[in-house]
């Protein structure tokens, strides 16, 4: 690979990641606007979150705890960017490897871990409680989510994301082939995105916004970028697993046009997935943590198990092999 090639490649990666963060901020702004409309008011302009991030990054910041605390926002942001780089957005994938579906599971946990480290380092009891809740919540939604991934891997007979996308394009989208698993995955997604009724770790009335309690100024600005990235990360994960990653045209035959069309379709699909989460967010109160845990290990797990059985029966007994 020549140096020019590497330069082009890395510019593209940077552009993609930058766009992803921007889309995340835009989505958060749209969510605020939509929630405001549900709540019968005007709401902020949809570019409000860009202003908020700009302001936070331009603020003076005098919060001193220890170096882990300083390091944590960077860690979280870097983790989310790395995970985004592994995730095909509109069919384009920056980093790849075989079995990256499993690798991705680990990478997704990195930013949350960084977040937890920093909050723990702040020594604020509210942050401590929030981190405990966040980790418990992770434990709860990963159970159905792993079952869903297992179903996908068995059905499509692959552990690589790009192969998964290809097979979905040639055969059928995951949501058509495995609708039950898709339902379980969407419920798990609500917890992964920490939207109500699962916004337990950041409950302002209970623990004063939890892990965020000590972060201000530039730290908070970086964490906002992190959460914008994770919005895109999590919606894209669902789209990649069940909606074919938005790939409708094969780049091999249509070239650049295919990239553009796929990107737009992907954008539309993650928007739909995000909007479902936002609507649910607006009309539900939050669970207590142990209720969320019970909930996740009950209904979504059962649904995901049924989905797994369906995938197994279809591929082994009925011989439906994509």
């Amino acid at each position: 690979m020549s140096i020019v090639n590497i330069l082009i490649q890395s510019t593209l990666v940077a552009l993609y990641l930058f766009l992803a963060i921007c889309i995340g901020l835009l989505f958060m702004g749209i969510a605020r606007k939509v929630t405001a409309r549900i709540q019968n008011r005007v709401g902020p302009p949809i570019y409000q979150n860009f202003i908020d991030v700009g302001k936070l990054l331009a603020k003076k910041t005098n919060i001193k705890h220890n170096w882990i605390f300083d390091f944590a926002p960077l860690f979280a942001l870097a983790g989310v960017l790395l995970a985004l780089a592994y995730l095909p957005m509109g069919g384009y994938k920056m980093l790849s490897g075989t079995g990256d579906l499993i690798l991705l599971l680990y990478i997704i946990a990195i930013p949350a871990l960084g977040f937890a480290l920093g909050s723990g380092a702040s020594a604020n009891p509210n942050a401590g409680v929030g981190v405990m809740r966040a980790l418990t919540l992770m434990l709860s939604y990963e159970m159905p989510f792993l079952l869903v991934l297992l179903a996908l891997m068995i059905f499509y007979n692959t552990a690589s994301l790009s192969t998964l996308l290809e097979k979905q394009m040639s055969f059928a989208w995951g949501i058509v082939a495995l609708p039950i698993s898709a339902l379980a995955a969407d419920i798990a997604l609500q917890g992964m995105m920490m939207e109500k009724p699962f916004d337990i770790p950041i409950a302002p009335h209970e623990i004063a916004s939890g892990p965020l309690v000590e972060f201000g100024g530039k730290y908070l600005g970086m964490l906002m970028l992190y959460s914008a990235g994770s919005v895109v990360l999590e919606t894209t994960l669902f789209v990649d697993l069940f909606l074919g990653g938005g790939v409708v045209l094969n780049p091999a035959t249509y070239g650049v046009v295919a990239y553009v069309v796929n990107y737009l379709v992907w954008f539309a699909l993650i928007f739909v997935v995000w909007m479902i989460a936002v609507f649910i967010n607006a009309v539900f109160p939050r669970f207590r943590i142990e209720q969320a845990f019970k909930f996740y290990w009950k209904w979504p797990t059962v649904i995901a198990a049924i989905g797994l059985a369906q995938a197994y029966i279809m591929s082994v007994f009925l011989g439906v092999i994509p």
Binding site: A36, R41, A58, K60, T61, L212
Partner: protein, 182 residues
């Protein structure tokens, strides 16, 4: 990360950097959720569907670390003043204070009460006053717009004054508190 120097001094002139900062901070004032007095009663209508201050990018925040704007809603009892000062000192620069209602201006109805401090700006710098008991949500909105204008023109400089005259403010505060630790 202790100060906010110009990130690209070669591209952005120092003057424009200040301007950008002001422009950003005026459009995204995060208010701390602290009901210091009875004026907090008119905050819910201001926040909610009828008046909706989120239109201007003003949202209540749960912790002082994240906030830019402190609303001192009404009379300040001595015990509350200590908490107000603590909250104010935890907020990150630049930060703004709006004093709300007649009582923090001169004591208002409680001019002869032994437990309320009479003038708030003896203890912390105040950027804007809203008069009235209690100010209507329209007045609060008006105050927000005025504060935005002040920030734009660089007149909302309470946080700079607090830095500059810190000793005097602290000396005044200590005349009402008997102890600060705890």
């Amino acid at each position: 990360m202790t100060d906010n120097p110009n990130p690209l001094p070669s591209i952005i002139p120092e003057k424009d950097w200040k301007k950008i900062q002001r422009m950003l901070s005026k459009r995204s004032l995060w208010m701390i959720h602290f009901c210091t007095g009875c004026g907090a009663m008119e905050m819910p209508p201001t926040m909610t569907s009828r008046y909706d201050m989120e239109r201007f990018g003003i949202i209540p925040m749960a912790t002082p670390r994240q906030a830019d704007l402190l609303l001192v809603t009404g009379y300040v009892a001595v015990k509350t003043l200590k908490r107000i000062v603590r909250v104010y000192e935890q907020m990150q620069d630049p930060k703004y204070v709006i004093s709300f209602g007649s009582c923090p201006i001169n004591g208002g109805l409680y001019w002869d009460s032994y437990n309320t401090i009479k003038r708030l700006d003896k203890y912390i710098p105040v950027d804007l006053y809203i008069a009235g008991c209690m100010p209507r949500p329209e007045a609060i909105m008006d105050a927000f717009l005025k504060l935005m204008k002040d920030i734009d023109e660089g007149r909302a400089d309470g946080w700079l004054r607090y830095r500059k005259y810190y000793d005097k403010y602290r000396a005044n505060q200590m005349r009402v508190f008997k102890r600060w630790d705890e």
